[in-house]
């Protein structure tokens, strides 16, 4: 009989306890990481083969084929794998909604038409079950946006890691505006033509009246050295009026897009158009105006019965080709994880794969003014990175490692835990549980 070293046995025993414990609650870890032997899609500086990425203090410290691996680094061999910058979803309700049909879990639509002072960041639930489900797909940052009404609130860019909204905040906010939607709204809109026209006029009038009040408030604010009467709604809009803050303007119908472009020009607003479902009809006008666009979901129906079946898929590509700066969003909450597939559909229907990748990485980073922090694999940027078996737009691809702000995040969500528990359920079927045999 072999003799076992009792100390070795003890070590194995202790280690297995540690492993077991770690399995119970897998936490993100922080430190120095070296992703070696990898293919790196930098997005901004091409593809590097057999290269290394070093992560330290939450930042990308080094990138390239000839990087010396720091002695203190935890080495992760990425042979056969590809490193990508984390993807950015430019329009979601993530963190603001837990269950779609239960209004008490929805925190994106405050009462009233004019609530620009409402802060999405305040209502972000860092512990939403939806967040881990999302990030394991390689989506590391999202715009969490309020909606409903004329000015529903202030959207925020967040990273999908952290225990407080402040830890998650990624450095960009914008005032959300729903540009008045004119005309008939779908097949269940049973208003008369007259009422449709009346409602449209009223909505535009309301916007202009509101803006006149903002102008007046800004003038008083200037002349009183910031001592205008307390009015949080108007005060929140003053920076937009002064061109110091960005407005994300939701607009979708052809004629409304043109009205919005004119309104933006007339009022000299720093704007981003969002939605823009019918952008393909007026792509040149948007390009000439030089306003960036966030569009999506790409996987969506045409907006008219007479439209070709694939206009939804093609919209992003057509606008891009016309010279519009286009980012892609899902406009979702529970399935923001499908962002890469939306980009994949855009690529299948006219965008190049490279441009589709940019539309979920560096382009939104540029639109939000955070291209020095996220959107590509470059030295000095935040370490928002995922490592996959290949093209993340392909459903069969597996995500293998995930880093957000330099934290090595476990690839675990409630959905994966349910898989682990129920794939081979124990106990399986028993005498008591067999239906049809009682």
């Amino acid at each position: 009989m072999k003799k076992y070293n009792p100390i070795l046995i003890l070590l194995v025993f202790v280690q297995s306890i540690i492993v077991l414990h770690a399995q119970q609650v897998e936490k993100s870890t922080f430190g120095v990481f070296a992703l070696t032997n990898a293919t790196i899609e930098t997005v901004t500086k091409g593809r590097l083969e057999n290269a290394t990425v070093v992560i330290r203090n939450g930042k990308i410290e080094a990138v390239g084929p000839n990087v010396t691996i720091p002695a203190d680094a935890q080495v992760i061999d990425c042979k056969g794998l590809t490193v990508y910058p984390g993807m950015v979803d430019s329009g979601t309700h993530l963190g603001l909604q837990e269950i779609e049909s239960i209004s008490v879990t929805q925190d994106y639509d405050e009462m009233g038409e004019l609530t620009p002072e409402m802060q999405a960041l305040t209502a972000i639930n860092p512990n939403s079950v939806l967040i881990p489900v999302t990030r394991v797909s390689g989506v590391t940052s999202v715009i969490a946006s309020p909606s409903g009404g004329l000015f529903p609130g202030t959207a925020a860019l967040i990273n999908l890691e952290g225990y407080t909204p402040e830890q998650m905040y990624a450095g960009f906010k914008a005032i959300v505006m729903n540009f008045p939607s004119t005309g008939r709204r779908g097949r269940y809109d049973r208003r008369t033509d007259e009422d449709v026209k009346k409602d449209s006029d009223k909505a535009i009038k309301k916007l202009n009246e509101t803006w006149d009040r903002v102008k007046a408030y800004a003038a008083i604010d200037s002349s009183t050295n910031g001592k205008a009467d307390y009015n949080p709604q108007l005060a929140a809009l003053v920076p937009v009026y002064r061109g110091k803050a960005t407005a994300m303007i939701e607009v979708n119908k052809e004629s409304d897009i043109l009205s919005a472009l004119k309104w933006i020009k007339d009022n000299k607003i720093k704007a981003i158009l969002t939605g823009v479902d019918e952008g393909w009809r007026v792509a040149d006008s948007i390009a000439i105006a030089g306003i960036p666009v966030i569009t999506g979901p790409v996987i969506s129906q045409p907006t008219r019965e007479s439209d070709r079946y694939d206009t939804g898929y093609k919209n992003a590509g057509i606008m891009h080709k016309a010279g519009v700066k286009v980012a892609i969003r899902t406009d979702d909450a529970e399935n923001v994880r499908n962002l890469p597939f939306n980009a994949g559909f855009a690529a299948a229907y006219g965008m190049s794969k490279e441009d589709a990748m940019k539309a979920v990485t560096i382009v939104p980073a540029e639109i939000f003014g955070v291209a020095d922090k996220i959107g590509s694999i470059e030295v000095g940027k935040d370490a928002n990175i995922f490592v996959s078996t290949g093209d993340p737009f392909e459903p069969a691809t597996q995500i293998k490692h995930l880093f957000i702000n330099g934290w090595n995040v476990p690839l675990e969500s409630r959905q994966s835990l349910l898989y682990d528990e129920f794939l081979n359920r124990s106990p399986g079927v028993t005498k008591e549980s067999v239906p049809g045999k009682s």
Partner: protein, 449 residues
């Protein structure tokens, strides 16, 4: 457009004599994904009178047969959606928790643009279902996507078994218990409603049987009053109808299997079954099937504890599983929905494609006719630019009964058959999402699925 109308009228004429139009063609040199018999490279498929008559290399076709060059393309059986509400004009008869007497097949809408858009995603057959407002809803209709025809009866899938919608959980509870103040208001009530309906069906069936026996002896025997509702329940008891049950939670799935066991009913497919994975061994033991979403969840509380690995867990436990759309939007890309099972659980290509072809065919009882590329089966075929499980694959052509119903290169942009002459510009619908499963209940509620 005028041509389509003309052709439709022509075809409708044929229908008078009880036939649907069929075609002949030969599809050359495609990579053929048969689903049941492997993948064949550079293979031809010969279609005659709407059926697949030969599969092989360099086949000979009768002179004048239409040739389709599929070189470099992927050819798969037409996709089947086991749960949709397209092509019908009515979904919910939300006036009673038990309405098995109504039939959505009576409300087929040949002009529904969703049928064409489904074809543009390679879908040739769908299961047009009654909605989920009632515990025992109406009879569903398996349809073929013969878009272009104008006779509603031309869409009916000939000899498809009868199917009937059941619905458990939140929807019938909200419509009837909360909305109308009648049972069921809880999942306990849902069980009772079903047991009562089956019991009534048994009583009715016994009366009918007694009458049949009596009639032999007594020519003046008086038959019981005919009742379509209970006759339909009796037909379920007799195994003539496949139950298609809207369900989410594991407990309610088990409940229905227990009820069916007590009444000797075996044929059931659980629709949605978001928690089917939790009772996969029990489903397999019962022989029940499951038709699920690829990844929809969290749209209501009963789907909060879902997982996108559902289809994989069910498949690995031996449950015949399909992936469905329940949506005029999603039906356009079921190939991509099936592909997600490769991310979530790593199903093989054949397993993943089975989820949208042969498996839904089994669930609808039409697997002897469609769902794979085999000699003798209907020539329902979808042709893709690349492997259909790749996100970059684009459907090129869709064929039903040997007739091209979608052609990416040659179809005009506007494929409407019916155009309102008073409509100046086509109405803007936006990205409107209608809760299909609850359509027709919107006066009472406004919620998805």
């Amino acid at each position: 457009m005028r041509n389509i109308i003309f052709l439709s009228l022509l075809f409708s004429f044929h229908l008078v004599v009880g036939q649907v139009p069929t075609g002949d063609m030969i599809i050359r040199k495609g990579t053929v994904l048969t689903i049941t018999k492997g993948t064949l490279t550079e293979t031809d498929i010969l279609v005659q009178k709407g059926k697949i008559s030969a599969i092989g290399k360099e086949l000979k076709a009768p002179a004048g047969t239409k040739e389709i060059d599929a070189t470099g393309l992927f050819v798969m059986p037409g996709i089947i959606d086991a749960h949709s509400h397209i092509g019908i004009d009515a979904v919910n008869e939300a006036t009673n928790p038990i309405t098995p007497e109504v039939k959505v097949g009576d409300a087929i809408d040949p002009f529904d643009m969703a049928i064409y858009r489904a074809l543009a995603g390679g879908v040739t057959t769908s299961h047009a279902m009654h909605g989920s407002a009632n515990v025992i809803g109406g009879q569903c209709q398996t349809i073929k996507h013969r878009y272009g025809l104008m006779d509603p009866s031309a869409f009916i899938f000939k000899d498809a078994p009868r199917t009937l919608k059941f619905a458990l959980g939140e929807n019938p509870i909200r419509v009837h218990g909360e909305g109308r103040g009648v049972q069921p208001r809880t999942r306990m009530g849902v069980e009772r409603v079903i047991r009562n309906a089956f019991a009534e069906g048994q009583v009715y069936r016994d009366k009918m049987k007694a009458y049949e026996l009596e009639k032999v002896k007594n020519p003046n025997a008086v038959p019981p009053v005919y009742n379509e509702r209970y006759q339909t329940m009796a037909d379920i008891l007799d195994g003539k109808i496949i139950i298609q049950c809207h369900s989410y939670r594991a407990d309610e799935i088990l409940m229905l299997m227990n009820v069916l066991r007590d009444f000797g009913v075996k044929k059931i497919t659980f629709q949605h079954a978001n928690e089917g994975f939790k009772v996969a061994p029990e489903l397999a033991a019962f022989g029940a099937m499951a038709s699920v979403f690829s990844d929809w969840w969290a749209y209501k509380f009963e789907v909060y504890y879902s997982t996108a690995y559902n289809a994989t867990i069910l498949t690995r436990n031996g449950v015949v599983t399909s992936i469905n759309s329940d949506s005029g939007e999603m039906i356009r890309h079921l190939y991509y929905e099936a592909a997600k099972t490769q991310r979530y659980g790593g199903l093989s290509d054949d397993e993943a494609l089975s989820l949208i072809t042969i498996n839904p065919a089994r669930q609808l009882g039409i697997d002897d006719k469609v769902g794979s590329i085999e000699i003798g089966k209907d020539a329902d075929i979808a042709i893709f630019s690349g492997h259909p499980l790749s996100v970059y694959a684009v459907p090129q052509m869709t064929i039903v009964d040997g007739i091209v119903r979608f052609d990416k290169e040659n179809d005009p942009s506007d494929m409407r058959i019916y155009i309102d002459p008073e409509e100046a510009t086509p109405a803007y619908y936006g990205r409107e999402e209608v809760d299909e499963c609850m359509r027709g209940t919107d006066l009472m509620f406004n919620n998805r699925h």
